[in-house]
Symmetry: C2
Subunit: 463 residues, 2 copies
Amino acid sequence: MITGMKNIKTRVLSSETPNHVGEEIMLQGFIHSRRDHGKLIFIDLRDRTGITQIIFNPQASESAHKTASDIRPEYVVSIKGLVKNRPEKLVNEKIASGTVEIEAKEVEILSKAESLPFDMGGEELNLELPTLLDHRSLTLRHEKVKKIFEIQAALIEEFRNASKELDCIEVVVPTIAAGATEGGAEVFSIDYFGHNAFLTQSPQLYKQIMVSVFERVFLIAKAYRAEPSVTTRHLTESTQLDVEIAFIKGFDELLDALEFVGTQMIKNVSEKYPEVLKEFGVDKPLIPIKIPRLTLREAQEIISKRTNRDLSKEMDLNPEDEREISEWAKIEHKSDFITITHFPTKKRAFYTMPDPENPEYSLSYDLLFKGLEMMSGAQRINNYEDLELAMKRKDVNPDNFGLYMQAFKYGMPPEGGFSFGLERLTMKLLELANVREASLFPRDMERIDERFSKTEEKTIQEK
Amino acid sequence: MITGMKNIKTRVLSSETPNHVGEEIMLQGFIHSRRDHGKLIFIDLRDRTGITQIIFNPQASESAHKTASDIRPEYVVSIKGLVKNRPEKLVNEKIASGTVEIEAKEVEILSKAESLPFDMGGEELNLELPTLLDHRSLTLRHEKVKKIFEIQAALIEEFRNASKELDCIEVVVPTIAAGATEGGAEVFSIDYFGHNAFLTQSPQLYKQIMVSVFERVFLIAKAYRAEPSVTTRHLTESTQLDVEIAFIKGFDELLDALEFVGTQMIKNVSEKYPEVLKEFGVDKPLIPIKIPRLTLREAQEIISKRTNRDLSKEMDLNPEDEREISEWAKIEHKSDFITITHFPTKKRAFYTMPDPENPEYSLSYDLLFKGLEMMSGAQRINNYEDLELAMKRKDVNPDNFGLYMQAFKYGMPPEGGFSFGLERLTMKLLELANVREASLFPRDMERIDERFSKTEEKTIQEK
C-alpha cells in the first residue's frame, strides 16, 4: 500500500479531502495542534482552506509516528496518508474536512518552529494588545485574527465594486508631496535629495485634480498623520478608500453616493461572511433604505435633549457625541449609520465649499457607523478665485500647490467626494476594541513593528 | 419650444445623445474646441464618454450664441439644446455621438479657464517632457494622455483578476519601516517622532510574512528608491504589483505563476483596448503558449553570439543586453516575453534562495517584455538559520528585522514571489519613451510636481 507514495506530488487542500476517501493523498500545512494519546498521536493540520485531522498510528507507519512525536505547533509539514471516513459520531461539522481523517503514512518536516510563547490553539487568543503586536508575525496566524483581514480584503473589494457602479475609474496618486496637504494634523517630513518633502496626509488634492480628467475616480491610498497622540482610533499610517465625483447635481447627489458606497460595503461583506460576524459576536448591521441625515446643529440639539449637555458652542461632535447620536439613529431609525452634514466652515479644510445659504457652515459631511466617524468628505470649492481666497483665510500659500491650482486655473467642474478609513471600518464592523487590531502591521507613536523602547534597549545592549 | 428648458435637470452623457434625437437635453462638460464660422459657432464638448458637436445659431438662441462667442477651450459648461440627426455625409464615425449634433438653446458657464499655454485640440500633444509635466493638471486632460491611464487602470484590474485566479488574497502592508528593506538602492529617511524610519523600498518582507498567514497573497503597494540617478526607466516613487505564494512544488511553479500573471495582464488589456494600442502605433503583443525561459548564462551566450561581445564576466543583463535577448525571443519564439533565471546569488537580495545544485547562482528570475525588465522575483530562503547566515553574508543585521525573523522562527513554508512595476508595464505596453509618461504625477530627483529649480526661483523672488 505504501508503494508509490513517494510519487504523490500534488498537494490536496484540507477542504478537498472529503472527495478523496479511500485514496492516498499529500497534505501540506502548519501543525495547528497535537494531542498525544500514548499509542495514537492526533494532529490538526492547518492550511489556507481549514483544518484536517491526521492520525499517527505506529501500526500504519512507525517512522511517521516517531516523527510526529517530535513535531510541535507551527512546524510546517508535508504528510502523505490514507483518507478515511470518520465514524458518524465523530464527525465534526464545524470544519470542511470534518467527515474524514487521514491515517498518516509519511511525514516530512519542511520547516521547524520554536516553542510558542503562548497557546495558539484556542478559539480566542486572549492576549494584551502589546503582546499581540510584539508577536504579530505569529499572532496573525490565529484563525480569528486572520478573519479580521479576510473581512478587510472583502471590504476593499466591495469598495471597488461600489465605486465602479458609480462609474469611477481607479487612479494611482503619489504619497510624497512638496507641500503639506491640509492644515491641522502634523506631517512627516522626508529628506528628498536635499529638498523638503512630506508624506501626504491624504490623497485629497490629487483626486480633485483627477476629476478634471476623468470626472469620476476612486483610489486606495495611504494617509500619514504625525499627530503625537495615542488613541484607540488613530494610526500614523492608515489606508483610505477615496471617491471623488464631478458634475454633481448638488449636495444631495454626494450624500446619495457616499451612503451608497458605505452601505454597499457593509451590507455585502456582512451577507458574505455571516459566520465571521457571528464569531465576533456582532449582530447583522442595521441598514435602513434611507440613512438618517442631520445637520451638525440638529444632531447637537438631539444630543442636548438626551443628555442635558449644552452643545450650542461646540464646533464638532466629540467621540461621546458620536456614540450618542448613533444610539439615537439606532433607536429612532433602526440604523447603524447616520450622516451628519454642515460642519462649521472654519473647522474644515480650505477646499471645503461653504453653504451658499449660510457660509458659516459648509457642505461637508461625516458618516458615522456604530458610533464612530468612518468617512468624511465635502463638496469642494471649484472656482479658482474662491479657492485662492479660502486658502489665504486659512494661511495656506497657494504658491505651494502649483499643480493643484493649475487644475482650477483651467476649469474645474462642480465636484465633491469622500474618504473611508479602511482600518476604522474593519474595526467597527467586527466591533474590535482598538484600530490597531484592524491593521496588519500598525504604526503609532510607540511602535514600528517593534516597540521603540525595545529597539532602544537592544541598541544599548549592543553598545 | 424653449419653455420648460430650465426644468431639465438630468445630465445626458455624450455617448447617450443618439438615443435622444428630437429631444431637448442637458449636456455638461469641458469645451474641447471652438470653431467660429461667423454666424455659426461650432463647439466640441468633452465629457467622460466622449465628444459632442454643439451648434450655436443666433436664430435658435441669440443669448446662447453670444455666450458661445466668449467661451474658450477648457471652460466648463452646461448646455441645453435640441438633439438633431446630422446629414448623412457629415456623420463622424470616429465618435460615439457622431450621428447627431446639438442645437444650443441655453448655455451656462460653470467654470472659466485661462488661455491655454499650448494647443490641446490636436490628436497628438507634441510637447517636450518637461513642458508636459510642468502642466500636468492640464495635459492629463488630453484624450491620448488620458488613455495611458485608462490602460493603467485596466492593468491593475487584470493583475487582481489573475492573482485571484491563483487563489491569492489581497493584503495591505506598511510603507514606513524601521529597517531598510534590502541592500542596494538608497532609501528615503523620515523623522518619526524623533526615531529613525524609512520608506520601504518594496513590500517584500511584509508579503513574505503574510504567506505564513494566508499562503497566497497579492498586493498593490508603493516602492521608494532614493537613487540619485535620472533615467527613462526609474521613478523615486513607483507602484508595485506583487504576488507571493507558499507551499510551492518547486521553482517551476513560480515560473508558471509569474508568466501566467504577466501574460494575462498584457493579453486581456490588449484585447479589451485594441483601438488604444492602434492609436499608440503598437502591434498586438506576441504571446506564445510557452514563454521562452533561459538562464542568465544561456542568455549571455546567445547575446555573445549575436553581438560578438564577451559577457562571460558580466553578473547581470544591462539594458542593451535586455533588448538583444528580447529581439532573439521575438525572432526565435515569436514572443514579446522572455523569462531569464538564475542570476548570481551575490547580485540578488539576501532572501533569495541559492540554487541547491549550484549555490553561486540563485533561484531568481526577471521577466522581460519588449526588451525591458518589468518583473523581478525569486524563490526565497525559508529556513531560519540559512536566512540568518545569508543576511550576515550581506552585512544585514537580523536584529533590525524583528517581525520578519519572527515569521521564520515559527515555521515558514517553501515560498517565492514576484513583483511587477506598474509604470514600466504601462510604458512598454504603449511603447512610451519615458516611464514618467506612465505616472500621473511622476517623482524624480528633479521634480515633485513642479521642478525644484522653479520652486527655488520662486522662493528667491519672494525674498
